[in-house]
């Protein structure tokens, strides 16, 4: 029931997204074909390209065309290169997904233990200084934008120390800096949230019961506290995914990463609207779908009925 409702919601949101992405080219002030071809193109060239793209046909027909092309992966043709947009996606998507996926793993693998340890060491007002250092450190790290961090990391580790490549997707070492710059701020944020949630859970009655059982610390924290702290933290994890997917747009630019982010930036600069609208559609769909997956996973993990009803 819960899953069905969530799924219906996704369908509504996706159809809005599809309509908006279709409308993009028509909302742009001026003639998109003229803008893409530049001022030197003759009127005949513009007219020819317009009719090639079907942009001279009535709007409803164009929309139906757009819709019928989507299931087959037909996303249109680039105004600039004449390449099929589908091919651009196929070339870029794996690179972007690898980057975002790795960053997500790093975020969770770092933030959860760090947050939990911080909670254990600062519980019940112990180590006030440590708590302050933790919150201000993570708070600072969390506001550093990924593209600024990326520039700093490149200057230090790639240019200065020459430890890793400056740019491009290649061997495993080329992933280090992009993943790091993408993961740092969300990891800091998530660690803060995990700590706050774990501190709240440590005050619950069931923790007292578990303490009364004299369980070893590992069991107490990992088996009893962590799953409860994580159910709320996982909601935040779900909110991290859009940030990570969207953050790739900026990080790819810094590292000249051959992904969708670079494609979107270039398409915007070249006013290549068919590519841009496909990218908006794709990134949006990616984010909305991953949100649904996180919701469903959460509902499964928490046996309490309250969560699924909310």
């Amino acid at each position: 029931m819960f899953a069905a409702r969530r799924f219906a919601r996704l369908v509504v949101l996706l159809s809005i997204l599809v309509t908006a992405s279709f409308g993009l080219m028509h909302l742009v002030p001026g003639d998109p074909v003229r803008a893409a071809l530049g001022p030197e193109a003759t009127a005949a060239q513009v007219a020819q390209r317009t009719s090639e793209l079907g942009l001279d046909r009535p709007l409803p027909d164009q929309f139906l065309d757009y819709l019928s092309g989507l299931p087959a992966g037909d996303l249109g043709t680039s105004l600039v290169s004449g390449q099929r947009v589908g091919d651009i996606v196929v070339a870029g998507l794996p690179n972007t997904l690898t980057l975002a996926g790795l960053a997500f793993l790093v975020v969770v693998a770092v933030a959860v233990p760090v947050g939990l340890l911080a909670a254990i060491h600062t519980r019940g007002d112990r180590h006030r200084r440590g708590a302050l250092a933790f919150t201000s450190g993570t708070g600072l790290l969390a506001v550093v934008p990924e593209f600024v961090l990326a520039a700093g990391l490149v200057a230090t580790f790639a240019v200065g120390l020459r430890l890793v490549p400056v740019a491009g997707a290649g061997g495993p070492d080329s992933y280090v800096l992009p993943v790091l710059s993408l993961a740092a701020a969300p990891a800091a944020m998530l660690a803060r949230i995990v700590r706050a949630e774990a501190l709240r859970e440590l005050g619950q009655d069931y923790v007292r019961t578990a303490r009364a059982k004299r369980l070893p610390a590992r069991l107490l924290y990992v088996r009893h506290v962590l799953p409860n702290a994580l159910t709320s933290a996982l909601t935040i994890c779900g909110m991290l995914i859009p940030g990570l997917v969207m953050g790739t747009v900026l990080v790819e630019k810094v590292f000249a990463w051959p992904g969708l982010g670079s494609a979107i930036t270039e398409s915007v600069l070249q006013k290549d609207y068919p590519v841009a609208q496909a990218m908006v559609l794709l990134l949006g769909a990616l984010v909305l779908t991953s949100n649904l997956v996180v919701d469903l996973v959460l509902a499964r993990l928490d046996p309490r009925p309250a969560l699924t009803e909310a």
């Binding site: 909302l27 701020a185 969207m246 900026l250 930036t265 600069l269």
Partner: protein
Amino acid sequence: MAIAIWQAVREWRPMRGSVGEPRGRGQGGIRWRRGVVKTPTGAAGLVMVTALLVLSVAGPVFWSGAARAMNTEAIMLGSSSAHPLGTDALGRDILARLLVATRLSALTAVGSVAVGALAGIALGSLPAMLGRRAARATAALIELLLAFPPLLLMIFLGLVTGGGTGGAVIAFAGAMAPSFARLTQTLTLSVTRSDYVASARMLGVSRPRLVVRHVLPNIAEPLLVNLSIAVGMAFMAISGLSFLGMGVRSPDYDWGQLLNEGLTRIYDTPAAALGPGVAIVFAGVAFQLLGEGAIGAQADRRPARPDDPAPILASKPSVAGGDRGSATVRAENLQVSFPAAEGVLTPVRGVNLTVAPGEILGIVGESGCGKTLTGLALTGLVPEPGVVRATRLEVLGQDPRGLSPRQARALLGRHTAMVFQNPGTAMNPVLRVGSQLAETAVVHHGMSRRAAGARAVDRLRAAAVPAPERRARQFPHQLSGGTQQRAVIAMGLMGEARLLIADEPTTALDVTVQRQVLALLRDVNSTTGASIVLVSHDIAVVAETCHRVVVMYAGLVVEDLPVDVLRSGPAHPYTRALLACALDMTGVRDRRLPTIPGRPPGPGERFPGCPFVSRCGHAGERCATEPPAMEELGRGHRVACWHPRTGAP
């Protein structure tokens, strides 16, 4: 940038509730500013924001000449003392350009937040102004907009507007507006439900007027905090857009565009990229600190440490309790204290008690008398930051305070068990009942998982849980209250407990189930020989179940008596008053319900004499000035009273 916006949305949530008492227009801002300066983070943020403000005004005035001066002989220079960040492709000094760019960066940031917040606040306050149907439609629209990630909205709007300075401002404003709308909507809703708005509405004040005059001033404070954080986000987000080439364009320049230019020459002059990067982070941190300072200003004061312990009260150690050598529990002058904002609180002021092997001891008293903490102190479970002191404390022959975690596991883990009140929250909600029982046997008795699971089912059966196999596989919320309490008791029966401390085990249950649970405890006592400490506010429950009773009042033991004396005639006026209340509830109904007038001294109060003096009908002069010591009245019966009563109550 993505995270920045996402975070802005997230950070707003905890502050939604912080709507204060009704106040007039404009006061919110003043209180906010004063509070911010008090916190170190807020003060630092204020200084940084002021610096930014000064720089954005003064920057172009002082450095625009240097920023514009082209020099064909100094093209693309690296860092030097003349040009700390180097020069660009036209030989212009990058530091000067960075300082000048502060104004445009600040203007776009503040401008886009102003536009976005205004649109959002307008949209968010619509539901309160419009009729029911229009309000619902607006709320649905806000919900819909929030479903899309802000950065997607931003890129979409950037594409539609075609970028440029104006495009970037509109794009960020549009990305931000839904969150502001939601914030305003939630805050407004909490204010419009309040009494003073209801009364204003009854007086005939129109809806739009109500929002402008009564609601907006009251939600100004949380909105201002969020505006501050949003400006920081805007600095970073618009820089990001410019960095991508979708924002400010040549010949104008802001920090993001300077970073973009600097990045292309990161090999030879990293400073050209790092300078703008540092500026962007500075702005982000400045507004974040200001916002956090404002939140922190609302937080509590720091409580005092218990470095000033209450003096150990002079009272005689226990002489009752039978064979002293083999007592299960012996506590002398047990104190528990906590640090608090108003000084040290001492809810347990000096308790003496002994529990003999195989004995069921009841600890009875009003709520707040320290009985639960006494139980927790016996097993070393007083929560942080509480401090336990005692001249002597022995549980199963050892002082629980001096045990290492390993020793505590070996002794207390194996041989003591606690049964807590509120069985609904005492079990872990995400673990199955059976596995919560089994883990004790796995950890302390080295059983295999399978054997421990079988024992868990066996123990559930022993605790009279119906269908134990099925219950073991269920989660706590799937059990009824009575069954939950039985399961928690079964948890205490997993090992070979020699001491079971049950804290209000029957409070949450109805009378029939209550009797069954008490019978179960007596049964456990007679079959396993375990000592039981039963903590309860209900003297009838204690009288029905226990061998001996300790009556606590204001953190002290006032009477220690065998259960037959409790029935025939306790000596302390407080015990007699408790008994009178209980008897009346079970017996004659036509009399007025006797309650004990007055209230006990709080855990922070000091009193020179008997704690009960202000509520006692038999108090003399001495009672107010001198604390009564425990005196032996009969066999196993001691009382701390200057005027003990005799005869039937």
